[in-house]
Symmetry: none
Subunit: 204 residues, 4 copies
Amino acid sequence: MATRPASSAAADKRRLILDAAIRVFAARGFNNCRVSDIADEAGVAYGLVYHYFKSKDRLLDEAFLERWGLMLEVIEGARTDEALTAREKLTKVATFIVESYGREPEVMQVVIVEVTRQANTFGRRHWATIQDAHHQIARIVSDAQARGELRSELPAEVAGMVFYGAIEQVLTAWIFGLVPSGPDDRAAAVRDLVETIFGGLDAR
Amino acid sequence: MATRPASSAAADKRRLILDAAIRVFAARGFNNCRVSDIADEAGVAYGLVYHYFKSKDRLLDEAFLERWGLMLEVIEGARTDEALTAREKLTKVATFIVESYGREPEVMQVVIVEVTRQANTFGRRHWATIQDAHHQIARIVSDAQARGELRSELPAEVAGMVFYGAIEQVLTAWIFGLVPSGPDDRAAAVRDLVETIFGGLDAR
Amino acid sequence: MATRPASSAAADKRRLILDAAIRVFAARGFNNCRVSDIADEAGVAYGLVYHYFKSKDRLLDEAFLERWGLMLEVIEGARTDEALTAREKLTKVATFIVESYGREPEVMQVVIVEVTRQANTFGRRHWATIQDAHHQIARIVSDAQARGELRSELPAEVAGMVFYGAIEQVLTAWIFGLVPSGPDDRAAAVRDLVETIFGGLDAR
Amino acid sequence: MATRPASSAAADKRRLILDAAIRVFAARGFNNCRVSDIADEAGVAYGLVYHYFKSKDRLLDEAFLERWGLMLEVIEGARTDEALTAREKLTKVATFIVESYGREPEVMQVVIVEVTRQANTFGRRHWATIQDAHHQIARIVSDAQARGELRSELPAEVAGMVFYGAIEQVLTAWIFGLVPSGPDDRAAAVRDLVETIFGGLDAR
DNA sequence: AATGAATGAGAATTCATTCAT
DNA sequence: TATGAATGAATTCTCATTCAT
């Protein structure tokens, strides 16, 4: 079995199906696609999807958890990195999200559109996990406020919402295809967004 | 009211059904409810829903358009009111949205969760209308930049996204029931959100 | 109440609806039209159709019986007219049917397409009435055979079927719009059809 | 048959469903039966009907095309067989149709009652195919007229209509169950019908 | 592991008919 | 007589999931 045991081939098949599911969910939406669309996209037989995944829901759950987990690690890493200012930390977070979209737009689209915003289904099911990210972001702000680095009169939770909501809004514009999302556009978006939130709109 | 014409009774029934649909969509989600749930909620026979509305989709379309239309009027009104500063204009917009939620949380939930964020279905169908609001908000910023009232180095579109995305994020937290949304909470949310965006996070 | 009592106005309304139903049945088919189509075509309110007719079925029943009754009278009249030869009798019958189509194609279309050929619904319900016509036609033949006017070795029932089936086939071609059905075409059709059946195809 | 490939099992199921559909259409009429009746008659699950056929319409389309295709082959074969007289050719056609009914009355009933006579639905959809048969029959006549075998003063199209209309009328009587349709009855029907049309009704 | 046939519970929509006014 | 709102049973088609091979 050399260096690639049988289970690895299986793992590859599983991956193939999950990736196909993400593309299909992004293209048609979770509620508007059929499991057979996913099998077709993956080039496997209908039943094989059910061999690897218990249900259609599970495909979306896994796609979400995988990516959101990475994001949580990045946010936590940024938050606990004492060498960084709050602005640098949030820039790091924004950059990760935006570059994730740059590399694999379908994944981020699915995560945001099909999961985090679904108040009645997946969003609620994964709410604790989603909240985790929001809390960490708020904590980046509140820690900086405690150090006197950021204004203390603003509630950290609201600041976090402004920051995260702004990123989602930018991604939404990209997802809907209304605004270019090339490498330069992405870098500019991070820069402008951070500068807006940290510097404020008011002229000095 | 004694003189209400006969057509009003019909209009009332129609209204009754549309309102019931909004409540059901908010409670279960558009994709997880049945037309019979709406009929039951309205207390009318199944077929009457189809007497007044061509399809289930149309119910959501109408709910969205009605409310978004009001919002557009308010945004346009704020934008063109020369007596107001940009901060006052955006405060007005934020207040309208937030108070709409306060009065009729289901409508705003449906508008945001079931329509504006659905990249593959309703969101795309109504995209022009949705964009209209975003453009007007950006214009409030760019007009103020032209007058030297706001910093010119920030792109107005990004500023608009930060503003609108922040409001949606706040509403999302309320919709998911994670944060109290009483009258005081709403007023505070508007104040904090506006102050954050205009003043910026940075300590002076 | 002069010469037109109130009941006459009512009778007119009834007629109006029945005629509209015939047009709609012809244009869309009994199974593919709605009662509301009939009301619209007649220019009356939905419910009025039910004031004058017990059901949608009844409309078709009446349309059929009215016309088929006329046809039966003509066939019986021809059959019992001792001054006529069998060829003249059947020419009379064919002419009546064909000219009925000429004057009111919708009625004949409805009678044939929607009633007499519906083996599972109306055709079966009215079978006795339909058969009546077929029997009379066969009798025209058998009487002539008894008189030595027509060949006796052919069963009269088959001869009748050839005659009536031929007429229906001609009407079918007209109904489907494949063949012109102007006055001259109709006269020619009767002549050719009768000559074919009486004279036979064989060269002498 | 032991070597039948796996695909045959599927083809058999498909056949099973199509045959069941034909029986149900014949017994209740296309418009008066439900897809579940077909599934029940075939002894399969509801959904399997849709696994093999796109819609209820398609079942009827296929039943019609399959049988009408056979008939077209027979008619064409008869028409181009130079060893036969026109009378022999049309006898062949009539025999095929009548014996088709003898073997599988439901199929012929469905073909005629549910398709070729439906001016507003299936009849119109398949009109070109239906016409094909009529044209070939007319051509059998006109070819014979050109050879001096049949009277030339009669239009071949009318002769064709008389012939085909007569056959349909005979089948109709059988379908409605008004006339016995045993083997002898069928043979007699063909003989009488052909003799009537070729020899004519007139006594010599 | 892999296939795709088989299952059957939905769910939207239609529309004949009834009924209150 | 006239209106059209109200009713709800009926029916097609969909599609997630299971299962035999």
